[in-house]
Symmetry: D2
Subunit: 330 residues, 4 copies
């Protein structure tokens, strides 16, 4: 079973939201207090997904706002050199900074991130800076949930969704829920449900759907999909970590993807690599079951490596892992 | 032609949004600098509509947030004594104040308002304070546009709309556009179009629809209704001041209401009295053409009087004016 | 014993700080919820002191910032017509509003004020708007404590004090402590002690000196004056309500003023009328003991009347009350 | 000529203000866009001065606020291990972050810093967190100007100065002017002059004194010292870069220090290393002329090395450079 995309579009995917800097511990397996050197990478969920899908061969574009400084310029250059169209990046004129994420890897089980997200440039993208003609050129608009966390980025995304729907562009919503970005969970639930109801495909972890539904205890996938299929979505992907992921279709089908065995270095980047490979497969015309395998394999590869964006795998690496077929049984 | 409402509901209408204080010049026909005394009234568009429709006989309720002070308590008492259910007013616990509007009447043509809307209590209504069980008890949820201007009131209203739709309660959107309440017109357009697309009935002036459509020049009614009828609305009312108002139905009908001759004292309160009488007629089962007459007559009566809320007319007054049939030809 | 002032100055007193609007209950001896009409007066401690001292015959000027609206223009006109030089009022260009005080008079013992002080124009006076040449033209610079509560007004006042000291202008500090204007009492104490240490005369209630000293329990006058006389002050006035007031001099003298019997209508305005008459007497060359009588008599007159600014007494009224000599014994 | 310090104190110097993180380019002599690795150091002017003077043998303490995260804990540990008393660090409980400074070294002449100073923990130190008993234990309280840039850190510093003066502790004011930390130069001038007038020793560059005096063109040292000597200062140091520095005493003496020849790697850290060595010499009882040499020599050493804090020289290194006596003639 496949999802159909418009075939006469210049871009496969245009992502909207943050593009930031990751500062990864060079010396790891220790507390960050003892890390004295950090390596710089591009980061941020939608930027990682754009980079990952470009590496797999999709034609990707990006809508975002960058700080007018060395970090902002580095991001633009890196993404451009990764083959992404960066013409719709806007350079902030009000002194906002690039978001930062210092990663700490104490052990594969104990990873944490020290975020700098105070007044960051990406959250200052305005509705006026979202260009209808650009969105019209793509098969897919990829929304990342964190871009909904603050005005005016929130309104820029709501406008982008409205323009995509008006022009029959598929809206894919990666929930990407970061609690520290939000005032409170009530507010998250209002905007997550608003955008999810208008999306064609929704991707997230079980926890993220619980935030969308404003739950304090774990909800059931069945309730989630019953609710979402009353609105626009035709495909809902719910991830359960090492237990694998489920894809539900509006027509009533359920598919399960299993996680692949790997040597975990850290947990960062799993979601972004999953999304980029899953979407690559879907947009390339593969069926949903295969797309789930692509997502799982890509995630397994990235968690075994040091960075998120740089570590994004190639099609060959993904297919090699799928062929080995060593899945995790839970 | 009529609009059908659910008949087995306890409330005819529940309004959500601001309830404030008007301070009306006792000595008028002069600049406010020379006014030394002010009379206190309840004000604010949704509060006025609730008061006006209660006076006409509808069973009304209200969802809002009040300052924990003398002004807040006055508003609750006044509305309760006007027959409105005030059980869903929340009292602010964070020291926010009641919004104020000092009215200046230099002449019937020169009226202005000096607003105090800085951090006012009504804009601090949260999504958690909006009660699904309450909304389910009403035929109609009335949304006032100003409540969308700031968080968390914005999210409270978006949630209320979502709950109304989920429970098949008709959503009526009075645009009530106050530019000073908003960051910029881009933001207004994002939220106005978002909520209008989900409403069943939309009421506003031509200017207000231009704000909704993010236009800087006057748009055409035809374009507006073509756009809105692609979404939820079934009835769109566009007001053109003394030229009268137009009601458009999704089924393709257009009705025109004319303005009634009156001795204008001031222009405040025209929109709220129009909405309350129009909605009273509609909910009472009168046809759209009659409802337009009710709206126009009620507006004509209120602009001839000193206050907005206190001056709301009775059915008898409205029908007497309609019977005189002295409309304005433009 | 007298305080010596520079005699060759054009102005007797220049006050700096807020000039606002009082909205006094027309129907009183009841809760404000039942008051339906309000009378408009100029208010705010330094404005009241300027008005009161101008009425007594002093040549007064004012440094402040006014809203660019009807309330701002009313204040400027009223003060100008009261004989005050208003050339150093700056008109706010950023949409800030005039501060408001709704007064509630339930009984002479139960008075309260409902304040609107959110982002008010007076607190936006900047250091660049304080003019050295203007301050140099006065015998006295009167500082009101509330102007220290927020930036940039805080810095404007600190600069004004610095300019006054540089030019040998006497600095008189009326503590005027309004807890709701401040972040917390720690911050109040920092700025109150900073400015008091640099002032020549300090006037306040015992409670206000406790705030200056960051005390949670009542301090002793002796400790207060011992502390202040280690710095610039030469005269410290501490008011104890109906028990009267004490004036302490750096040279070691103590004077006591008693309160006069009166029929109290409300308590508002007592402090401002006290300060204006006390300072009038002092600047007119009367001795400290007489100045204390002037202050007490003026306060007794104002608390028997409806407003604060309008009710400021004349020299004849004050002297008549002093002559009656009916003081309160506690 | 010497400055006299209280000899019976436990601490030589207690600094107050920021302690942050420097992220120094590992690959330098290029734009930061091309730097892929950064080394972590403790930074921030007062922290650097404390570290530098501890390395020279002074007993130092610190008053500041640290983020409750890995960066905050690293700073505390590093400074503690450098011999500084860290018992008066307060750990922020409100989620504020550690300030960051990414350094870019394009060439010795082209260095820049990319700052992260948005809502940083150090600026949230409150007056209540400044401990009089702690300040009393030191010969010197070192104030760094940046700590005055925002409330509540501003009030914490003003209180610390007041406590130092009350207890006869010498106040040394390092101007450390960072324009991006301030609202505008008017505000800077208000607080810089306020604190400078109350200090015993003031140290800064000519540019920094221009900011203190609210000048837009370069002022004359003579005017600066004439102004400051009307108030508390007894010693004023004005630095002129490679032209050397001047020390002026209230008694009328002027001393000049020359800059030492060095191979400049970058310009960061020059001011902090100057201050730490100058103060070490002064507090150790050396005369002012010698102290100027210490300051210059220390600055010359630090600008030839990669970091600021780690690179702080020993007494032996400083004296060796002084002995070589290769000064720059301008």
């Amino acid at each position: 079973m496949k999802v159909n995309f418009n075939t006469d579009k210049e871009f496969d995917i245009i992502a909207i939201g943050r593009a930031c800097i990751d500062l990864n511990a060079v010396e790891y397996n220790r507390p960050m207090e003892e890390t004295m050197t950090f390596s710089k990478y591009v980061g941020g969920s939608p930027a990682n997904i754009a980079i990952g899908s470009a590496k797999l061969g999709l034609k990707a574009g990006f809508i975002g706002k960058l700080a007018d400084d060395q970090h902002g310029r580095f991001i633009e250059k890196y993404m451009r050199e990764a083959g992404i169209d960066t013409t719709n990046f806007v350079v902030d004129q009000e002194g906002h900074k690039t978001g930062l994420a210092f990663t700490e890897i104490k052990s594969p089980e104990e990873c944490s991130i020290l975020m700098y997200r105070q007044d960051v440039a990406d959250l200052y993208l305005t509705p006026a800076e979202v260009n209808e003609d650009y969105i019209k050129r793509s098969k897919v608009l990829l929304i990342s949930g964190t871009a909904l966390s603050k005005s005016p980025s929130r309104e820029a995304v709501i406008k982008a969704v409205s323009l995509a729907k008006k022009n029959d562009i598929k809206v894919i919503f990666e929930l990407d829920y970061r609690p520290y970005s939000w005032e409170n969970q009530e507010e998250t639930a209002v905007y997550y449900s608003l955008v999810a109801e208008q999306s064609d495909v929704v991707i997230g972890t079980r926890d993220e759907y619980d935030a969308l539904e404003n739950r304090t205890t774990e909800g059931k996938n069945e309730d989630t999909v019953n609710y979402l299929f009353m609105h626009s979505p035709e495909l809902v992907v719910i991830k359960h970590g090492v237990e694998g992921s489920y894809a539900y279709t509006k027509s009533g089908k359920t598919f399960r993807g299993k996680a692949y065995k790997t040597k975990v270095l850290k947990t960062f980047g799993a979601g972004d690599s999953y999304a980029s490979a899953f979407l690559f497969a879907l947009i390339s015309g593969k069926d949903i079951e295969t797309a789930l395998k692509y997502g799982s394999a890509s995630a397994s590869i990235v968690v075994s490596k040091h960075s998120s964006s740089e570590a994004m795998p190639t099609v060959e690496e993904i297919e090699a892992l799928i062929d080995k077929n060593e899945t995790i049984s839970v």
